[in-house]
């Protein structure tokens, strides 16, 4: 029973870390594409050209942070 619990714990940890890693890769690709599009249709007015890629970057950093948090606390 203890072995089974240990396997479940390790398995769930591995699955969560893998999910976060995959989502991080996906988010990185999206961020790069958004950055490229932001250059193409350069909306030079005020904050918009900065804030949209910045939001994606913050999101990407949060995913990366979550990966390390999960690595430590799980």
């Amino acid at each position: 029973m203890n072995d089974f619990s240990a396997i479940i714990a390790i398995g769930s940890k591995a699955v969560v870390l893998l999910l976060i890693a995959l989502y991080f890769i996906f988010s990185t690709l999206i961020f790069l594409n958004v950055r490229r599009l932001n250059t193409f249709v350069s909306i030079t007015y005020s904050y918009l050209s900065t804030i949209i890629p910045l939001l994606f970057l913050i999101h990407l950093l949060l995913v990366l942070s979550l990966f390390f948090i999960a690595l430590v606390i799980l």
């Binding site: 969560v16 249709v41 909306i43 030079t44 994606f56 799980l74």
Partner: protein, 247 residues
């Protein structure tokens, strides 16, 4: 929405005002002093002269939810020529975003809606098996995915633009965030334009599709669910007529 496009008057009385607003320069030639090239530059200017009425009702700076902008200021695109001016910026009507906004709100509320379920025996016995740390990470990942979904959907709407300039039509398709397709066609290559409005919603909110048929083997364009499709078709027709008149 005011009438955005009216046939340009033949007289030259309005022309200086327009040219003062948008200085259109003909392509520079190394030996531009010769008479034939001056005539060619004059023809180019006439051909790409911006319509007076269109210039009279600019919408200025587009906001973060703008789907239709006439002569939008402070917008440029890659490969834009020095003498090229954006006349119309088109995005899908904002009402088309309502389904994903509704879905996103629902997704944000799902964990809260599940709280009563936690009191049931089956769920609480399952939760005993997982650690609070695991629950925290799972919940954080869930919310990050939902936030990512919201950002993706908004960016898809925001970057999927159609641009009509005094020289050409640009279509930026961005169906998924991992793919993009950017297509251009000169106004001279446009054969036909048509507006489609189907359904009650499109009728109420006055949006629809605009199809642009191009000559030869070039791919046709379609701006989907854009506001005021009839006005856009009207504007394109007038621009095409203006270009052909000076061919």
């Amino acid at each position: 929405m005011p009438d955005i496009f009216i046939e340009e008057p033949e007289s030259d009385t309005d022309a200086p005002a327009v040219e003062a607003q948008v200085p259109l320069k003909a392509p520079e030639q190394p030996d531009a002093k010769s008479r034939p090239q001056e005539a060619s530059q004059q023809a180019w200017r006439e051909r790409h002269k911006v319509n007076v009425s269109l210039m009279r009702t600019p919408t200025g700076k587009p906001g973060i939810f703008t789907a239709f902008a006439v002569t939008p200021s402070e917008i440029q695109f890659e490969d834009q020529e020095a003498n090229e001016q954006i006349l119309l910026l088109l995005r899908r009507h904002f009402i088309t975003n309502v389904p994903w906004i509704f879905f996103a709100v629902l997704m944000l509320l799902v964990p809260l809606l599940l709280i009563p379920l936690l009191q049931s025996d089956i769920v609480s016995s399952f939760l005993d098996l997982v650690s609070p740390a695991f629950l925290f990470v799972a919940l954080a990942l869930y919310y990050l995915i939902v936030i990512g979904f919201i950002l993706n959907e908004y960016a898809t709407w925001f970057f999927q633009v159609g641009l009509i300039t005094n020289i050409r039509v640009v279509d930026v398709d961005f169906n998924t965030l991992l793919s993009r397709n950017i297509a251009y066609t000169d106004l001279t290559d446009i054969v036909d334009t048509e507006a489609h409005q189907r359904g009650l919603l499109q009728g109420i909110f006055n949006f629809g599709n605009v199809g642009i048929q191009t000559a030869g083997v070039k791919a046709n364009f379609e701006f989907t669910s854009i506001p005021l499709p009839n006005k856009v078709v009207d504007a394109l027709s007038d621009l095409m007529r203006n270009v052909r008149r000076h061919e």
